[in-house]
């Protein structure tokens, strides 16, 4: 599945406002939860924090891909954005994080969840895309960059 199919325009925020890791996780989770109630936000946030407790999902080069699962969702959802200011995220390379993708889904979609995670990390391996995303000023611009990048890769 293309990321762009998952990434609804109302789930992208440029810039993200949070300045601290935990605030950023909450902002992204709320963005991903969309119309869902606070039960989904709470369950998802708990799952995402548990994953961060194992090891930061800041995979380096200013990119973080937090993720979590909860039975309260019925399909995969993706939220993304660029932080106004780089956020200290405990990333693997120790550098602060600016580009964020948060992936969430139900246990039943665990396979697609893993495939999508891999896809995001592979796409963001490209220096040119990372630089372009960091320079994005609107969510439309962000989405267009992801779409173009996926088309180029296909």
């Amino acid at each position: 599945m293309q990321l762009i199919e998952l990434l609804a325009p109302d789930r992208v925020r440029v810039p993200l406002r949070s300045r601290a890791k935990d605030d950023l996780l909450r902002e992204l989770v709320e963005l991903a939860a969309g119309q869902h109630g606070h039960e989904v936000v709470d369950a998802l946030l708990r799952s995402v924090r548990e994953r961060e407790a194992v090891l930061s999902t800041g995979i380096g080069d200013g990119v973080a891909i937090p993720h979590g699962r909860t039975p309260r969702l019925d399909s995969l959802v993706l939220a993304a954005g660029v932080c106004a200011e780089p956020v200290e995220f405990g990333a693997l390379d120790g550098r602060p994080v600016q580009i964020c993708f948060l992936l969430a889904g139900p246990e039943s979609a665990a396979g697609a969840h893993v495939r999508t995670l891999g896809r995001i990390s592979r796409l963001l391996n490209r220096v040119s895309l990372r630089e372009a995303l960091r320079g994005a000023t609107t969510s439309e611009e962000f989405l267009a960059l992801v779409r173009d990048s996926e088309e180029a890769a296909a």
Partner: protein, 493 residues
């Protein structure tokens, strides 16, 4: 025993073999009795000694001192190799304060107590200095045999403290022995200068040998894997010998050098570590056996009262108080402070140090030796036997997953690109419950083996990773970000 060769050697080896094998087999007893395994070796030494069943006549303090020093070098080197540099950095300051100010404080308090119990000041202070350093190995063997893993910061603090605190105890003992032999010859200013010099030179030489060792091990290609541990053993001996000649602390140099050498890839790493592990065990056994041989149980009875009093004072008053003061600036939680204070077990170092004034012919040194022996044994029994209970009681067990039952490692004499990492599969990971075919591994990475309980599983496309599995993943450096996004933190890191 005036046999001619080769009979003399044969008898020596037969006796040594019997005692060594007995010690190893009886090490299991420490598990059941929950006492540090060192006590078992010490006990066997006493039994084999002049007043024991074998009646081996042994009263060579010089030989005991030498064996003890060699054994300590082996033990400290092994400890350093297995302590990651990042851990040392994380606790360097609290452990450093404990290893210097803490040791001096403990020595002073025990000295005062010994004086109140009737020792003259010089002897009392000497006694304090001799028992002032701790031995983390004593704590860890107890924990390991009871199957408990300790929270990392507490464990590392104890470990690094004991790696660093022997020099201070050695220096104090040497200086106070000197003062006993030449009364009035002790100046506090001189002592402070000597201590500083020994620590600075020791640390600097440790860094020099460590760095040089890393360079050497990274460059040189040896004909056989077994030669690498021989080389590292040589480096350990060099670090001690040269540093001590240069008026630095040899023990500190050995520990620092080992930490640096162990930090990063090494040729033949698993084999090398195993050899040093074995050498450290051999060192422990031989050292305690010899120290046990050196003791005359009949003489211990005379000092039982004073020994017991000092041992309890050390465990209940001196150590906890000093630890609380030393750790105050670092804001450790109270139960961690209490724990570090309680489990500061004494190992072989005090007994070895106690031979020092005996060798120097200091008056009254024999009595000090007996008291010290008593203190070490009581100390190992009273806080020692309670270690597992206290760990659980204070809630300091780590929540870290248990180690896999099978360990897979790449063993190579040459540095190769790529590493084999194991991961504990927890609920929180994206890969939990997912069949492997869904994982689109990068080109150069792959899952190699799954350890599930007692089972080894060959990873196939439809094998699903279950919570509690240990997954072995091979990856090159550039794919590590992907692997850790999926699998989380590698174990043993």
């Amino acid at each position: 025993m005036n046999e001619t060769e080769p009979l003399a050697t044969a008898i020596l080896l037969a006796a040594f073999g019997a005692v060594l094998a007995t010690s190893v087999l009886f090490s299991r007893a420490s598990q059941r009795l929950a006492v540090p395994v060192a006590l078992v070796f010490l006990g066997i030494g006493v039994l084999a000694g002049s007043e024991g069943v074998l009646g081996i006549p042994f009263e060579d303090y010089r030989f005991a001192f030498r064996i003890g020093t060699v054994a300590l070098v082996l033990i400290l080197f092994d400890g350093g190799l297995n302590t990651p540099l990042t851990h040392v950095r994380a606790v360097a300051r609290p452990a450093g304060v404990l290893a210097t100010v803490g040791v001096a404080g403990t020595a002073a308090l025990v000295g005062v107590a010994a004086h109140l119990l009737g020792f003259d000041w010089p002897l009392a202070l000497l006694l304090g200095a001799v028992v002032s350093s701790t031995d983390a190995a004593a704590v860890f063997t107890v924990l390991k045999t009871s199957g408990i893993s300790l929270k990392r910061r507490v464990g590392t603090t104890l470990e690094v403290e004991s790696g660093l605190n022997d020099p201070m105890a050695v220096l104090l003992t040497t200086a106070l022995t000197g003062a006993l032999l030449a009364p009035g010859g002790l100046s506090v200013g001189q002592l402070a200068f000597d201590v500083t010099r020994e620590l600075v030179v020791g640390a600097a030489m440790g860094v020099v040998v460590g760095r040089a060792g890393r360079l050497l091990l990274g460059r040189v290609r040896l004909a056989a894997g077994g030669l690498y541990p021989a080389l590292t053993l040589g480096l350990a001996c060099l670090a001690f010998g040269v540093t001590t000649r240069l008026h630095g602390s040899g023990f500190l140099a050995v520990y620092v050098a080992a930490v640096l050498i162990g930090d990063g890839p090494l040729p033949f790493r698993p084999g090398l570590l195993r050899v040093h592990d074995a050498l450290a065990w051999l060192g422990q056994i031989v050292m305690f056996l010899v120290l046990g041989l050196l003791v005359f149980p009949s003489r211990l009875a005379e000092v039982a009262g004073i020994g017991l009093a000092l041992a309890l004072f050390l465990a209940v008053v001196a150590r906890p108080l000093v630890v609380a003061l030393c750790l105050a600036p670092f804001r450790f939680p109270r139960r961690e402070v209490a724990y570090v204070g309680w489990v500061g077990l004494r190992g072989a170092v005090p007994i070895i140090l106690a031979t020092f004034p005996v060798l120097a012919g200091a008056p009254g040194a024999g009595r000090v030796f007996d008291v010290v022996f008593f203190i070490v044994v009581v100390n190992a029994l009273v806080p020692g036997a309670t270690v597992p209970w206290v760990t659980r009681r204070l809630g300091l067990e780590s929540g870290e997953p248990p180690a896999p039952r099978a360990v897979l490692e790449i063993e190579s004499m040459q540095p190769l690109e790529g590493s084999l990492l194991s991961f504990h599969v927890s609920e929180a990971l994206a890969v939990a419950g997912v069949p492997l075919r869904e994982l689109d591994f990068p080109e150069g990475a792959s899952i190699v083996l799954i350890v599930r309980g007692r089972e080894l599983l060959a990873p196939k496309g439809d094998t699903a990773l279950a919570t509690g599995d240990h997954a072995y993943v091979f990856a090159r450096p550039k794919d590590l970000a992907w692997v850790q996004l999926m699998f989380g933190r590698p174990e043993s890191e």
